[in-house]
Subunit: 338 residues, 2 copies
């Protein structure tokens, strides 16, 4: 029963929050790897706004930090997609460290990035360490939903609806979400846009795996969301007129050999007053069932879930292990000791 | 990969529904044990109202049925409490059959019936079979709630609220729930009533086990529920006047060594129009979180969960295995083959 030795790789909003939660539960943070020049050389407690110094200084040389600190696990929070994570993960694995990441694609990347996933799996096996991705989706789009499905006799369709507020993420993302465009502009963009994989697809593939289902077809469609009245977008400092675009919804659909269809509608839009992040799932089958989590503070559940998963990732066998291959997600009340 | 051979022990409402669901998923029902004289000698399909004959005839001699059929597992749906289940389970285990039961107390009976539980555990180990209890609580009070807790960083209290309609269960239970009594009559009854364990306590003990928490103190309090306007009780064919009792709520509280308090408020009352069974959980901690399942058809989720658990119970190691010792609850889309 030892407190795990942890390196934080990426000290942005998520890495900072995870740092505080890890320290709350007695984890030892032995190193911190940063990338922004303005953060390097500063104490982790300063960068993560903890209110105290940790004695750990942000270093930009990942291999050097890992060589010096020999952590049990690296908490990697730098990017969403495989292409932006691959090299970082390789560095950690080659240093003999387990990796737990918030990468949305890595939640289940076997179909979106098969070659890179197989290469990381092989590398992790030969270095006897585990690579796992977790976060909000682990709880609200996989673990809860799979248990929920376990209470149904027959299932035709499982449909999830999740929503996030464009105004929480700044002007770049607001423009990505086509806020303020017209219906025609949106349709023109949507017909030709080269977009990375949705976050819904890997989540539905992880859910299928957890539920014992075999995916046959995956597809994604995108529909615009329109302002009903005037909607104020803080991120862009504009008012969107009724009938114009306030964001869009990616609708991921997965068909399975067992005849169960999994759908996730993920909406990123500018919220009207009183709207909040939520998670709503419906089972159509025998019986029809609903599961609702309203007013979700997604940034907190993301990092809390990651921290609660640390002991599972340290204990897991080697390789790229998706969450369906870990023990059930559970709370860690006191410590992260394994 | 063989379809399990199953005996139904107790062919009431739940046993009948489980029978239909098992046949839907290709389970082989090889025997049926009944107790009511009016059911014995009749075909299981007739008693369970399946609309077809099964070729399996209800027999009142459990040992004889088990000796003749040698099932992989017995589905036992005869009673809620250990004292009314103990002998039936012993008969099954001594015949070498795994047992899956809907007994609410057996969901986690180590503290309410420690001697009987230890004896059954010992007997199951020496006969190399598993005894497990499941049902609605497995999904909605344990599996979902434990995963939900895994998305929180710190937890002061987890509070569940569940509700069932007295009118679904006939006049005897309506009288047990004190429907139609005055506040004074209720308080007099409540001060002296000799009641069996609540269903909440074993559920909270199972939840604590699933969440890695150690129970220090358990207590139960009971509060009356009063009619707001006039409420019509179909089961008793009476109208309850405003201010009189329409049922009561058992409030189970479990304190744990880790400082997390678990509470379950279970209300059995006469519903007003528009009310339905529900399941609502709140986490107080960082962050505060809510989980809601409304309009729950509890009889269906009870039996669906049992059927989905059959492969887990057949595969589990020997002994009395509570659900925290099984794999995560999940849907079985196609078959019960193990």
């Amino acid at each position: 029963m030892n407190a795990p030795r942890i390196v934080i790789y990426g000290v942005g909003a998520m890495g900072s929050l995870a740092t505080r939660m890890i320290l709350d539960k007695g984890g030892q943070i032995v190193g911190a790897i940063g990338r922004s020049p303005e953060k390097l050389g500063r104490d982790l407690g300063d960068v993560a706004d903890l209110g105290f110094e940790t004695g750990v200084v942000l270093d930009g040389d990942a291999a050097r930090v890992l060589e010096r600190t020999r952590p049990d696990v690296v908490v990697l929070a730098v990017a969403s997609y495989m292409e932006d994570n691959h090299a970082h993960i390789r560095t950690c694995v080659e240093a003999g460290a387990n990796v737990i990441t918030l990468s949305e694609e890595l939640l289940h990347s076997w179909t979106t990035s098969p070659e890179e996933t197989a290469a990381l799996d092989e590398l992790a096996r030969s270095n006897d360490v585990t690579i796992t991705a977790t976060g909000h989706q682990d709880g609200y789009w996989v673990s809860l939903v799979s248990a929920f499905m376990g209470t149904a006799h027959s299932i035709d369709e499982v449909r999830g609806r999740a929503c996030w507020n464009v105004d929480d993420f700044g002007p770049e993302l607001a423009r990505d979400q086509q806020v303020g465009t017209t219906r025609e502009q949106f349709e023109e963009w949507n017909a030709t846009a080269q977009r990375p994989p949705t976050f819904g697809r890997p989540s539905l593939h992880a859910l299928a795996a957890a539920a014992g289902l075999t995916v046959s077809v995956s597809k994604t469609e995108t529909r615009p969301e329109f302002a009903q009245g005037q909607v104020s977008c803080q991120a862009l400092q504009v008012t969107v007129e009724p009938g114009c675009v306030i964001g869009f919804t990616d609708v991921d659909t997965v068909e399975t050999d067992q005849g169960v269809t999994l759908v996730l509608e993920m909406t990123g839009k500018v919220y009207a007053p009183g709207e909040s992040d939520h998670n709503r799932w419906e089972i159509s089958g025998e019986p029809d069932l609903t599961l609702v989590n309203d007013a979700l503070p997604t940034h907190l559940t993301t990092c809390a879930t990651l921290v609660n998963r640390i002991p599972d990732v340290i204990s897991a066998g080697p390789g790229y292990r998706t969450i369906d291959q870990l023990p059930p997600l559970r709370h860690r009340a006191e410590s992260l000791a394994t």
